[in-house]
C-alpha cells in the first residue's frame, strides 16, 4: 500500500492499513476485516499476482478453507461471511462442472469475472484513498491564513471598536467626572430608608421636643434637597411613631414639627404611673 509516508499520521488515519498478506497473520481475527470482500482481497494478495490474473477458483478455495478453519475453532461468524462462503461454493461448482444449458443465469466465468472486478475496484478505491490522504492536505501539510481577516463569511460575531472609539470614550467620561468634581456631589433623592436611618441614629441624642428641621438642616443645604429630605423624613418619622419609638407634635398647620424620644418620655410616664 502507498500509505507509508508518515507512519504516525497514517496509522491514525488508516487504523490497520498494514495488515499482512501472510497466511499466518490471518489467524482468527475476522473482526479486523471490513466484510467478506475485504477478507477476499486480503486472501487474493497472498496469491502475489496481479489481480487481473488472479485465479478466482483458487481464491474461492482459500476462502472456504479459511472459513472452515474458523468454524472448527467454533468462532461465531457474521452472516455475510457465511453468505459469501455459500456463494463461493456455488461459484466453485459452476466453474468446475460443465456449464448447464445456456439460460439467463450468468455463467461461472461471468460470475468469476464479476468477483474479480469487484476485488480490483475495491483495491483501486483503497489505493485512491491512500493517494488522497497522502496529498498535501490543508491543515496538515499546508496551511491557510492562521488569522483570517473576515471578508466573506463571518463565522462568529466580533465586537468592533476602534482605538478612536476607545479614546473618545475614555476622554469624555473623564471629562464628565472633572465637571462633577467641581460641584459638590449631592444626592438628588433621599430615600425612606436613609431618612429612617438618620432619624433612628438621632433619637438617642434628643433630650426634649426638638424641631425636626433643626436636626435635618445639615441635609437640607440646597433647595432641591429640602423637599426630598422633608418628605422622606416625615414618612419615616410617622413610621417610627407607629412603632412607638418617637413622638411627634405640631402646634398648628404648617408650623414646625417637633419630635422627641418616646422611650425617654415613656420611662417618665411609667414612673408617674
Amino acid at each position: 500500500m502507498a500509505a507509508t509516508r508518515d507512519m504516525d499520521g497514517q496509522s491514525e488515519l488508516w487504523e490497520t492499513a498494514d495488515r499482512k498478506e501472510d497466511d499466518a497473520a490471518l489467524v482468527v481475527d475476522v473482526d479486523g476485516f471490513e466484510g467478506p470482500l475485504d477478507l477476499l482481497l486480503a486472501l487474493a494478495r497472498t496469491q502475489k499476482v496481479d489481480l487481473t490474473k488472479i485465479s478466482i477458483l483458487a481464491l474461492a478455495e482459500q476462502y472456504l478453507a479459511y472459513i472452515e478453519h474458523l468454524r472448527q475453532l467454533r468462532l461465531e461468524l457474521a452472516a455475510d461471511y457465511l453468505v459469501m462462503a455459500a456463494w463461493l461454493a456455488y461459484l466453485k461448482s459452476r466453474l468446475l462442472l460443465p456449464a448447464p444449458a445456456p439460460d439467463e443465469e450468468p455463467s461461472g466465468e461471468e460470475m468469476a469475472a464479476a468477483l474479480a472486478f469487484r476485488l480490483r475496484r475495491l483495491e483501486a478505491m483503497r489505493d485512491a484513498a491512500a493517494k488522497l490522504v497522502n496529498r498535501d492536505r490543508l491543515g496538515r501539510e499546508v496551511f491557510a491564513r492562521g488569522m483570517p481577516e473576515p471578508v466573506e463569511v463571518i463565522q462568529r460575531s466580533d465586537y468592533s471598536a476602534t482605538l478612536y472609539d476607545l479614546l473618545t470614550a475614555y476622554a469624555s467620561q473623564r471629562q464628565r467626572l472633572m465637571v462633577s468634581v467641581v460641584h459638590v456631589r449631592r444626592r438628588q433623592v433621599w430615600s425612606l430608608a436613609e431618612a429612617r436611618e438618620v432619624l433612628t441614629r438621632m433619637i438617642g441624642s434628643i433630650a426634649d421636643w426638638t424641631p425636626v428641621d433643626v436636626f435635618l438642616s445639615p441635609w437640607m443645604q440646597t433647595p432641591e434637597m429640602r423637599a426630598t429630605v422633608l418628605a422622606s423624613s416625615f414618612s419615616a418619622s410617622l413610621e417610627l411613631v407607629r412603632e412607638g419609638k418617637v413622638e411627634l407634635r405640631q402646634t398648628s398647620a404648617f408650623a414646625s414639627l417637633y419630635m422627641r424620644d418616646r422611650d425617654r418620655d415613656g420611662t417618665e410616664v411609667n414612673k408617674d404611673g
Binding site: F143, R145, E152
Partner: protein, 224 residues
Amino acid sequence: MADLGNLTSLAPEERRTALRMVEAMLFASAEPLGTGEIAARLPEGSDVEALIRELEHVYSGRGVNLVKVAGKYMFRTASDLAFLLQRDAGDQKKLSRAALETLAIIAYHQPVTRAEIEEVRGVSISKGTLDVLMEAGWIKMRGRRRTPGRPVTYGTTESFLAHFGLEAIGDLPGLEELKGAGLLDGRIPPGFTVPEPRDGDALTSDEDPLDPDDLLAAGLTDHD
C-alpha cells in the same frame, strides 16, 4: 483590442493598487475566493485573471503560495515547509479507514448512493461514517436517484477540494488510469453499474433534487 483595452489602459499606479487589493483580499481570507468575488470589489474593468497570474508568479518561490483549488484561489503555505508547521495541526480529526474508503468512493463515483458505496466495499456502512464525512464538510447530499426508493445521492463539496488541494474533481489522483482500467466506466460485468464521477452540483439525468426534508436533515452540510 477591445478586450485587452481595459487592462492595458490601466496606469502602472492603478495596476499596482489593483494588485495590492487582490493580494489583500486573498490574504485576508482563509477560504478560497473565486474570480467573481474578487472582481466585485475591484475597479470596474480590472483583468482579475491577469492580476492573479501576476500574484501567482510573485509568490511562486515563497513560503506562501497562491494556489487554485475548487476553481478558486487561496494563499497557503508552501508544501515543502510542511515539516515546519505540522506541529500546529494538533486537533486534526482522525478518520477511520472505513470513512476514508467511503470518501474515496464518493469522490470517484459521485453522484453515488449509499447502496452503491456498500456495493463497492462489500459491506454495509454504518450511519456514523457518512455523518463524520458530512460533519467534516467534505461530502453532502446532492439529490435523489430516479430509481425505486429514490435513494439520496452523495457527492463531494468544495471544501473537500480545498482540503485535498484539488482544482476540480477531474484532478483526482489516478482518475484517468482508473477510467482506463474500466473501473469507473461502463465496461463492467453485468449487474454492476458504476457511474462516472461528475463535477458540480448540477443534477444528472437520473437524479432528482432533494426534498425540503432532506435539506433540513442535512443541516450543516448545506453551507456550501
